[in-house]
Each structure stands twice: as structure tokens, then as C-alpha cells.
Amino acid sequence: MNEPTALRASKSTIFLNKVKAFFSKPHNVILVLMGIVLTVTTVAPIVAIVEDTFKIHPGTIDAHLTGQAAGYTVVNYVDLFTSRLAKTNLWTPLLNTVLLAVGTCVVSILFGGVFAFLITRTNLAWRKYLSSIFIFPYIMPQWTLAVVWQNLFNSNAITGTSNGLLAATAGINMPLWWCQGLFPSLVVLGLHYAPFAYILIGGIFRNMDANLEEAATILDTPKWRIMTKVTLPMVKPAILSTILLVFGSSMGSYPVPHYLGLTTLSTKYVSLNSKYTGEASILAIIMMFFGVAIMLLNQLSLTSRKSYTTVTGKSGQISKINLGRAGKYVIALALVIVTFFTSIFPIVSFAFETFLPNPGDYSFLYTGDTDNLTTKWWVTDENVSENGMYGQKGILHNETIWRAFKGTIWVSVCCSLIAGTIGTLIGYAVSKNRRSKWANYVNSVAFLPYLMPSIAVGVAFFILFSNQYVNLFNTYTLLIITGTIKYIPFASRSSLNSMLQLSGEIEEAAIIQDIPWIKRMTRIIIPIQKSSIISGYLLPFMTCLRELSLFMLLCTQGFILSTTLDYFDEMGLYAFSSGINLILIITILVCNTLVNKVTGASLDKGIGG
């Protein structure tokens, strides 16, 4: 009679309680929302582009082969893979693309990684200067280095053009393989992305607790063994991240191979698009396939990852390798010379170019006659009379350039703020649920657009938003949506990398004190990993400022600065493109300095730094 009655909750109550418990954690809320939104924004463009491969396009090969003006067909697949043009249109560009992507990864990781090691783990001289100057190639639009390469090494004897600087001044004709094709393309892209490797790897090196290495040293472990068994495994996530980011980026690069005469899937996409529209979309699908494959590989590596915590609540210190009294200057001098050619020379050459009477006309250098210099490219304020300006006003008075500049700033700021915030939240949420499949899914789906070549993402968004209901071509809305989706990985990667380094005990201490989540984020987590998180905002901003491959198919040429710059470069009006380059570089440097002054963070301090 008096037996106590056990209250048994119903299954639905248990379920509801579980749901409540699940959503009581902010990181779970973030994961669910982001998962849904990112699935739509990532999958919808892919579906649109897949549909396009089956669609019949009037006036193109599929309409010709099927004899129909509309409908669906598989003829694009059949023709691309089996026609006599398969080698030209598919296999050769595919091989070139893979070689370019792999080569770029190797160059950027070796160059950027070694540089990061020297800057952060040794007593190298002039580190501050080198660190700042090293990121310049990444600031500049990638194809401008290709144009500089051409202006330096082309020659009448080898490339059948007018003489570049080297041939004109020293009579040196570089061989063809050096001037055009795979080699210069991978070097230029490798140099462009090396700062990426430097930022990512440098961030880890900077934060690494040297106790592990010191322990190994005490145990009399050889230096090479410490490097391979202790140091490198610690930076493995950063190396992997670099590979992931650089592989996808270089694969989808259009302008560099375009200028340096290498046929890749990106350049082929553009050339096929007019007559082989559906087949071009298949090329975009193939590029995306690589993106998915890399993501899966990354997934494997992530699940097998043990612990990469480098920042804990305990002590941390960095010991620096002594390069010797002379060594630290000799190596620094070598790096100063190298960075002069990769960073300073292009800028000087841009500045010089804006004072030449004709594009590429170096008469002043041979004659020393100042009559062979002009300020017309800057100060001409009318475009009515023909005075060698190709119908353009000077840079200072050119409305097209300044309107494009404003557009670029607007797109970059929006993309940076939105992508940076979303990415940071994703990085945080994923780090809190490392073993959760959903977290891994969200992480992957957020990262996928970055692994997809830019040009393919651009194509997909163009197709998705060009219909009778929504037509966003040439609007900032489209650029911001595309840019945001594409750049979330910058922030999510840097955020995840830094959050993984952050020991859980730090936040747990605050939870025990019942500190609200917002306060934990703003007072503890974000301040500790401030520079990583700010890098997550700065990287999208900087990348967006000079992004071309992603946006080139989404807007007209005077809409943003990069398309305007590319237009002038293609037209051979190097004074204008060089002037725009200078404007971009100054803008980025000013922004970087401002952020540095206000927050103490800086891009070159590196992710996790």
C-alpha cells in the first residue's frame, strides 16, 4: 500500500528532454542551423550545374547533335568523353590541371613552410621586415605576377613578341619552358600561395610549446628525429590545411594559366563555353569532383587525428634555434633578395609602368631621356581627344576605376564580415563536437565550396541565379552570396585550427563559474585566439579584394576592381592595370595596419599566432 510509486517518463518526454538538452548547448544550435543553410547554399548550385550538363543549349554542339533546340540529353557526356576532341578538350587540360595543382602545393609549402620556420623558430635577423614583405604576393592579384613574369622574360627570339626587360637590357633570352606553360604557371601560383602556407604553418609554429621538443632534446634525440617526430606532426594540420586550400585554389585558377599559355580545365571551360556549353559544365563538374575527393581525404585525416592541442592553460614557451652570428644575417640577406624579386620588384615595376608612354615601352631605360616618361595615365581628365589613352581618362579621373573600387570594397567588407563570423562560429561549434558526425558534416559542407575551383563555383552560382524568377547577374548581392559561401572556409579553418589548440579546460572553468556563453566567447575564447579569428576576417577580405576567377562570370568588367584590372591587362593597357594594382596593395596595407593598431592582430602574424 505504502510502496513508493516510481514515476516513469514517457518516451516522448525523454525524447523532448534529449532535444532540449541538445539545444541547450549553443554550439549545437549553431551546428544545426549552419548545417541546414550550408547544405542548401552548397548543394543547390551543384544541382543547377549538373542539370546544365544534361540540358540542350540552342546554337551549341548538343543542339547540333540532337537536332533539337530544347530538352535534355546525355550527348554532352558522350561527346566530351568519346569524340575525337576528347584529348584536346578533356584529358590534356585535366592532366595539366593536376600537375599545376600538385606543383603549386609543393612550391608554396616548401617556400612558405621553410620561411615560416625561419621566422618563428630561429633568431633570424630582420624578421619583422621579412614577415611583412613575404605576404605581398598574396595581396596582389595572382595574374599580375604572371604579367610581370612575361614583361621580364619574354623575348622576340623565343616567344615571338617584343623584348621583355631581361632581353632588352641584358640581351638574355630565357628558354621557352621558362617563359610559358607549366613551369612559370606553377612557380607564379606557388609564390602567390606561399604566404598562405606561411600564415597557416607559421601560426602553429608560433604557438607551439617548445617543452615537447625540449623533452626530446633532453632525451638526446637527434635533431632530424625531433623535426620528423615532434615538430612536423604538430604542424601537420596546418600543412594539410595548406594543401587543401592551395590545391583547390590553384586548380580553379583561370588567369595565371591563361596569361602563361597553359591549357587547364579552367581555361578550357572558358574557351568551350560558347559552342560546347554543356560540355564545359561537365568540366566544372570534374573540377568539383576533385574538390569532393580532397574533402573526403581530409575527412579521413581529421577522424584519425589525435590531439593537436598546442595552447593550454599551462605554461608555454618557444625556444628559438640559433643560426649563428653570421648565419642569421646571411640567411636573412638571401631572403631579402628573394623577397625583393617576389614582392618589391613587381610593385616597383607596377609604379614604373604607369609612367611609360606606351604599355611595355622601356625607352627611358635605354636612353635615360625623361621625354620617354609621362604622367598622362594618371592625370588626363578627358577622353574626347585621342592622346594615346585608348579612350580612357587617367586613373585619378577615371570614374570606371573608382566606381569599381567602391564596389570591391563593399563586396569585400560584406563577404569578410559575414564569412568571418559564420566561419568562426562553425569552427567553434565543430571543435566542441569533434566526434560528432553532424559536426564533421557541417565542417565538410562549409569547406566544400573552397575546395571547388573558383571558376566552377562561379559557373554554378551564375546558372542557379539566372532564371525567370531570380536574375542576379551583375549585382553585388550575387557577388556577396558567392563570395561568402566560398570564403567561409578561410574563417572556419583558421577558427577550427585555433579552437583545436585550445584546451577544453579553459572554457570549462568558465562554465563552472556559470559565465554566459556570449561572455565566454567575448572575454575568453576570442581574446585568446584573437589573431587567428581576425585572420579569419582578414583573409576573406584580402582574397575578395582581388578575386577574379570566382567573380569573372558573375558580373561585367567595370563592376569590381579585379574584373576591371583583368580587362586592362587583357587589353594590354598595363599602366591602368598597374595603377589599380597599386591602389589594391595600398588599400590592403592600410587595412592591415588599421586592424593591427586597433586589435594588435595582423595577417602576417599568422593563424593561431
Binding site: 551549341t60 572558358v270 606606351n358 625607352s363 556577396i480 568588367q557 594590354g572
Partner: protein, 474 residues
């Protein structure tokens, strides 16, 4: 609290993603514009089918307006335009950036009729062949964004724009009269102008080019815009297979010395069966041989600008290119750069064979044009008046399709004496004395684009061209 904070923060981010993008004064979304009004039983032509025959009952609203407009003078059209577009926004899209310069002049003209008239405008110039995608996407709306277009590449216009009913041709009355025809009798597209790409070579060395076959001789690598970048370049090759131009190539071949002929003969022989397979005329093998040798030898460049920059430099000894003639207008003389460093091959005494390639900028009204009367008036203004054409006419190398305008433009700008010194007698820059459209299409042997022919052979000759291995310096 923390749940709410996280949720709110996330939602704010997502909402800002959707809301943050400004339109930037560009193309409005579909819903911003009212749907096109259709008249009773007159349904618009299906977009993916060939346009209906010119039966009035089957005409779309825009086609009806065009039909009416074709019987009106420029002034009457201007009044209609004022009525339609006063205070509105006009969007145009074109391959030439100079539409942007022509529009303010057009507005001034309308203001000379009605001083209270005003119109905002935006002129877009897409790249990488994107104009066709842009117009196709815009055609899906009931009322489009773009009122009209100025577009090149007759081949794609025919197959993607005209056969699909996306663009409509408007023939202005006074333009037709100037050409001795009428809107009803005229069957082609309306060209604003013909541009010419001509063979030029650097003359600082000893090499000369006195026959068009010299450009495909052994070891030659002419500078030329990649045919996959600029499709009109491919159209040039298609046109060479037309009977007239294949005949010109044969004549030029016959003018070569026996030694020179011996080099080309095996290729011509090899092409005979190909020409037969492709259904070409009797001289088709000459055309295919020239095309093969050209594609396998030309040094692809990104644009005509860099080609011009290269050729006028004294270091480009013995280089040559096929490029837009008008590029010479902007060369500034310096110690190493001069217009006198190049020769226009066709101007040389004794030169034999094709001198270059002529292609058109065509004008069309979009079939779902939001401002069809204004589009017609603007088109009439550009093709019927010197001021309207001045954005192009002020420079050499662009020839109005209206003979009256062409004559008046020459009288105003004097391009035939563009290379003379100030005294008007001394020849300063021979290459800049533009000999004009009539000369180029007769003595200058300019190969002229025919959109229909290009569209016809795009998948016969076109596919054959794509099979050729392009020269690659890299």
C-alpha cells in the same frame, strides 16, 4: 539565455547574408519591372523555337512596335521615346564600351526636342562571351532588363539570339533609304559599323610580306587573338571557306613563285579530300590549307592591344599580326615605339591576297525590351546621324553602315589623312592614312563576315578547325 544568444547571433549572420548585398544600381530583379502587356490573342513567340514568320498576328509586342517604328522618321521616333522613357532608367548591353559614350549624346538629342526630358542609363560590357548568357537569362523574364544590345559575332547571334527569338532586328527608315532599300525589302541584321582586322608587320628588319600565303610560310608565327577567346576570329576562318574568299586564296597562291608554291602544295593536296568531305566549293582545299597552316602557327595573344604594343616596338623585328586596325590610333611615339615601325600589308605596292577581316557590330532590340520605342530611337540615332555615330566615328578603322553617315564622318574627322603632318601634305605615318571601307572591301580584299554562312558551317568547318593542333609556344 545562452541558447537565445547563439540562435540570435546565428540568425543575424544569416539574415545579413541575404540582406547585405546592395544592388549597386545594376540590373533590377525580375519583380521590379511590370510584366509585358500582351494584346488579346497575340501570344509571345516561344523562346526556344524559331520565330514565327512575319505574319502580323504572330508578332510579339516588341515586334509590332518595331514594325511601326520602321516607317517612322528619327524625329517621330524621338517623340515616342520621350513619351516612353522620360525619367526612367535605360539598360543597354554591348561588346563595345562606347555605347556608354553614345547614350549621353542621344539624351542630349532628345532634350533638344523636349528640354524637360531626362533619362538615367547604364551600359554594360560583359566579357568572355558572357553577353550571350546574359541576354539568354534576361530573355526568360516577361519584361527584360536590357532595352537593346550592340553585339558582335554573327554566328552566335544567328544560332543563339535570332533563331531563338531573343533579339529582334529593327531597320530604321532613313538608314534603309540611305542604303537604297526599305525595311521590308532588307533581310539582314542591322549593322552599326564594320571593323577591320588587318595584317600588319614590323618593318625594322628586312623581311617583307607581299602575299597572304607569306603569313603561313614555314617558321612564321603571327600574333593573333586566340580564336577560342574571341570567336569572331574563328568566324574569319569559317568565312575563308566561302567560294569567293577561297577563290582569292587560290589567286594569291597562283601569284607565288614556284619555290613558294612547292612548300604549300602538299598541304593543299592533303586538304582536297577534306574539302570534299566538308562539302566546300572547288577552291575549298586552298582555304583549308591556309586555315590549317594558320591555326598550327599563330602565336595566341589575349587581345589586340598587346599585339599592337608588340608590333610597334622596334625590338619586334620581323614579327607580324592580324589585329584591329584602329589600335594604331593610340600609339604614342617614343625612342623605341613608332607607328612607322609597322607596315599595313595591304597598303604595300604589289601585295597580293586577303588584306584582313571585316566583322560587324550589330544592333538589336531585345524581344522583351522594357523600352522598345526608346531602343528603336537610340538605334536610329546611332545609325542615322554623325553625332550618334561619333563615339565610334571619331577613330579610324570603324566604318558606319550608313553611307551618308560614313561620308559625313570622313568629312568631319578626315581619317583618310590621319597619318599626315599638320601641313596636310607630308606623310608622317603612312599606316594611319585609313583608305576607307570601299577600298578595303575591294582593293584591300577584306574578308567580310556573313552570319548565316558562319552558322551553317560552325559544326562542319568549325569542328574540323577544332581538330587542328594549335601552335603553342609553351
Amino acid at each position: 539565455m545562452k541558447r537565445l544568444s547563439a540562435l540570435l547571433l546565428t540568425l543575424v549572420m544569416l539574415l545579413s547574408l541575404a540582406a547585405c548585398g546592395g544592388n549597386g544600381g545594376s540590373a533590377p530583379a525580375a519583380q521590379d519591372t511590370p510584366p509585358a502587356q500582351t494584346e488579346g490573342d497575340a501570344a509571345p513567340a516561344p523562346k526556344d523555337e524559331a520565330p514565327a514568320p512575319a505574319d502580323d498576328a504572330n508578332l510579339t509586342e516588341t515586334q509590332k512596335i518595331i514594325k511601326e517604328a520602321e516607317s517612322m522618321s528619327l524625329e517621330d521616333l524621338a517623340k515616342k521615346a520621350i513619351e516612353e522613357s522620360n525619367g526612367k532608367m535605360f539598360y543597354g548591353v554591348g561588346n563595345s564600351s562606347r555605347g556608354k559614350s553614345a547614350l549621353p549624346l542621344f539624351i542630349e538629342y532628345l532634350q533638344s526636342i523636349d528640354s524637360s526630358y531626362s533619362m538615367e542609363f547604364e551600359w554594360q560590357q560583359p566579357k568572355n562571351n558572357k553577353i550571350f548568357d546574359q541576354l539568354t537569362a534576361d530573355s526568360l523574364k516577361d519584361t527584360g532588363t536590357f532595352a537593346m544590345t550592340l553585339i558582335q559575332d554573327g554566328n552566335q547571334i544567328e544560332s543563339k539570339m535570332v533563331q531563338t527569338g531573343i533579339l529582334d532586328t529593327f531597320i530604321p527608315k532613313e538608314w534603309a533609304e540611305a542604303n537604297g532599300t526599305s525595311a521590308d525589302a532588307y533581310t539582314g541584321y542591322l549593322a552599326l559599323q564594320t571593323l577591320n582586322k588587318v595584317f600588319m608587320y614590323n618593318n625594322t628588319g628586312s623581311k617583307t610580306y607581299d602575299n597572304c600565303w607569306d603569313f603561313v610560310a614555314e617558321g612564321e608565327h603571327g600574333l593573333y587573338m586566340d580564336i577560342d577567346s574571341e570567336i569572331v576570329g574563328k568566324n574569319f576562318l569559317y568565312m575563308l571557306t566561302a567560294d569567293t574568299y577561297a577563290g582569292w586564296l587560290k589567286d594569291a597562291f597562283n601569284a607565288l613563285s614556284a619555290d613558294e608554291q612547292a612548300y604549300f602544295q602538299p598541304t593543299i593536296k592533303e586538304m582536297e579530300s577534306e574539302a570534299a568531305d566538308l562539302g566546300l566549293g572547288a577552291d575549298g582545299a586552298y582555304a583549308l590549307a591556309w586555315i590549317k597552316l594558320w591555326v598550327e602557327s599563330y602565336n595566341a595573344q589575349t587581345d589586340d592591344g598587346p599585339i599592337c604594343n608588340t608590333l610597334v616596338d622596334k625590338s619586334a623585328t620581323d614579327q607580324f599580326g592580324l589585329l584591329v586596325y584602329s589600335k594604331l590610333r593610340s600609339v604614342e611615339e617614343s625612342s623605341s615605339v613608332s607607328v612607322n615601325n609597322i607596315n599595313v600589308a595591304a597598303y604595300d605596292d604589289g601585295y597580293t591576297g586577303i588584306g584582313g577581316y571585316g566583322y560587324c557590330h550589330y544592333l538589336f532590340v531585345t524581344d522583351n525590351s522594357p523600352l522598345p520605342w526608346t531602343a528603336c530611337a537610340f538605334i536610329a540615332y546611332m545609325t542615322e546621324t554623325v553625332d550618334g555615330f561619333s563615339a565610334w566615328g571619331k577613330d579610324m578603322g570603324g566604318y558606319s553602315s550608313n553611307p551618308t553617315v560614313a561620308e559625313a564622318t570622313e568629312a568631319q574627322y578626315g581619317h583618310s589623312k590621319g597619318g599626315m603632318a599638320e601641313d596636310g601634305v607630308t606623310v608622317e605615318f603612312e599606316a594611319k592614312n585609313d583608305r576607307g571601307y570601299d577600298w578595303w572591301t575591294t582593293d584591300g580584299k577584306l574578308v567580310l563576315e556573313d552570319p548565316e554562312y558562319c552558322a551553317d558551317v560552325a559544326f562542319t568547318v568549325g569542328s574540323w578547325v577544332e581538330m587542328l593542333t594549335k601552335y603553342s609556344a609553351g
